[in-house]
Symmetry: none
Subunit: 201 residues, 4 copies
DNA sequence: AAATAATCGAGACGGTACGTCTGGTCTTACC
DNA sequence: GGTAAGACCAGACGTACCGTCTCGATTATTT
């Protein structure tokens, strides 16, 4: 077993975790207080009692900092219940997710998606750090349904997930109508019915 | 007793349409060339050969200007075909819309939605000027299907529209997968099947 | 039947002088309230209820307007007394002038001289409208002294005037010491003694 | 007990003397080329290759900058010759000063005095930085004359200085007549004669 | 212990763009 | 045909942040 080639203990003064945490905390406070648009590096540095250099040393951009700040405190993945019926589990999770998005989390997610639009690196951070694990959980729920013979086995799971959650995000971002339970149920019903194993007439 | 409702004779030099058009054209050029993030009031003023004051006099913010610039030249509503089958009409329009969004229009729409997140005024402008007319066209297509006996008559049309187009916008904004025809067809099939009048067994 | 030409009322232009006076009054108010530095054409126009054009039609610059505004209300020439002794007359007038300059007039004159520095036209206006008549009065007082045999007859009167009043303006503008009577008397004494007809020993 | 008076260790990046000098040089060039009225912070920044912030960080106003620029390059105090005769020394220095004022320096000094009128801080700067040392030199010359028994010992030196130099500044600022040698000599003669120790008849 | 190395805070630096203010010019409609 | 209103281009204002760059001070590892 080759002991890792990369064992080189770093020289010099080690990174200060105290500073790191102060920065993320300050960033979060600014994000919640004033929104992403008013989060500035200088503001974070001042509030955290930290030099600007320290921020630039560790984060490539305002967006990257905001994203990490958010991920550092984002709500845990909304879990999928595991009853006898995968369809019900999914519909129930969607309702819970929508409830979370009606609060502060929704604002935060909206801003994260918004700030992703102009910067591919931020988009990747958001996808990897936030969206991907949540999509993986959904994928597992769907696979469970497939395994139970509830859903067809030839599904494009990503497409199904997008069909289920796309409307929710659409309303979150455009804001023309609320993500109420009736809406989510109707979306879930339409999509899940469409992927259900057909009863033979 | 004069009953004139509109008595407001504007005083002073009237607004210059020439300047207005030069500003919107310059804004569009910058939007397409460098994106919303690089659109600055100073840049627009310089390119349009216009004083900054003239821009600030008529547009309250960078976002409002960008939005109006977008709306002033955006492709006309992607029309719905009108064949015998409303379902086919809708699915066909979705494919066309997605094609448009794979080009420059998609980038601009993404950025407009993003900049809507921090500014309620922009959001309203975008909804009224861009989204609402397109949703109304979709609503008409759905009503046609209802009238033809193709779709159920108890539908929440807005919810149906969100279910159809939400996934498309979701992929547009998150970018984790392309809006290809197969995906859109599967979404359309699931949703439209769900609202179809049930055949009596 | 329109009688084109001449109604009994001759083509009224009732405004002109009214506007002119309103402008000068507004300019004076601004000058006294905020000083020359804060006098702007726009401010004057707004306060006078007048279009900017009307100001630009009659005055070539901010300074010219200010100058005329000041001249329109400036205190009358401080008269020279006419006693038996021209020296005493002059010294007395200097004391009176200094007293006037210790009040608002002094501030106004200071600012007029200041605004003359960058604009030859303003300087000319100030000289012709303010300074020249006052110097002429001083010249007459000196000539009276010459005629009476009190002063020498080969004098360069302008140089004498500058020697008399220069120190007063110097203190007015630099402000390092007050123009008190003792100072003025000592200046007057030195200069007037110097130009007095010498007693033959 | 440590008696160190100066314990303030400056933190952060130290001020750049290079920038400071570039700014003063650029300001001087603009002052001489276009005059104080055309000296703008933006112009200085551009010419010096410096950010505007750097100027605003160290100078509170356009006038303060101009003043320091002037002081940084103004000829050293026009020295007083030191011959046997203090009267001659003073008259000679006045001629030299007037010669300097007939050139570019005169224009700048005029403008500085003008801009002092609306800003007490500028006035103070001009007095402390420019005028006071020159007056002190004159005071020393006069004291020399007193010590030599040439002038009376009960003089108000400030008043004498104002009497000597006031006319010169008066002509400089009003511009109605040149500061030629004959004029200065006559002023000097009158004033210095007046303060001379009287010969006993 | 001393030297080396990377960190930290502070804050100045050259810049870009902001949104405002004023200058001086130019249209309009009204009187 | 002069006037008020007010839009127009131009450009400087003073401010906010950007991202980079010294500094002196601190905290580790390596010699």
């Amino acid at each position: 077993m080759s002991s890792t080639a990369q064992d080189s203990t770093p020289r010099g003064r080690p990174r200060s975790d105290e500073a790191r945490e102060a920065i993320l905390m300050a960033a979060n406070e600014l994000l919640e207080g004033a929104g992403f648009g008013r989060l500035t590096i200088e503001g974070v540095a001042a509030r955290a009692g930290v030099g600007k250099t320290t921020i630039y040393r560790w984060w490539p951009s305002r967006g990257a900092l905001a994203m990490e700040a958010l991920l550092s405190k984002v709500a845990p993945v909304i879990a999928f219940p595991q009853t006898d019926c995968a369809s019900d589990d999914i519909a129930a999770q969607m309702r819970r997710l929508a409830r979370a998005y009606r609060g502060k989390t929704g604002t935060v997610v909206r801003e994260m998606i918004a700030s992703s639009q102009g910067d591919a690196a931020i988009r990747q951070l958001f996808f990897d750090g936030y969206l991907a694990p949540r999509r993986e959980a959904a994928r597992r729920a769907l696979r469970r349904g497939v395994a139970r013979g509830e859903f067809r086995s030839d599904l494009d799971l990503d497409a199904v997930i997008d069909a289920l959650y796309g409307p929710l995000f659409y309303r979150l971002l455009l804001g023309h109508a609320p993500n109420d339970d009736a809406f989510l149920d109707s979306v879930a019903a339409a999509v899940l019915t469409g992927i259900r194993v057909q009863r033979i007439g």
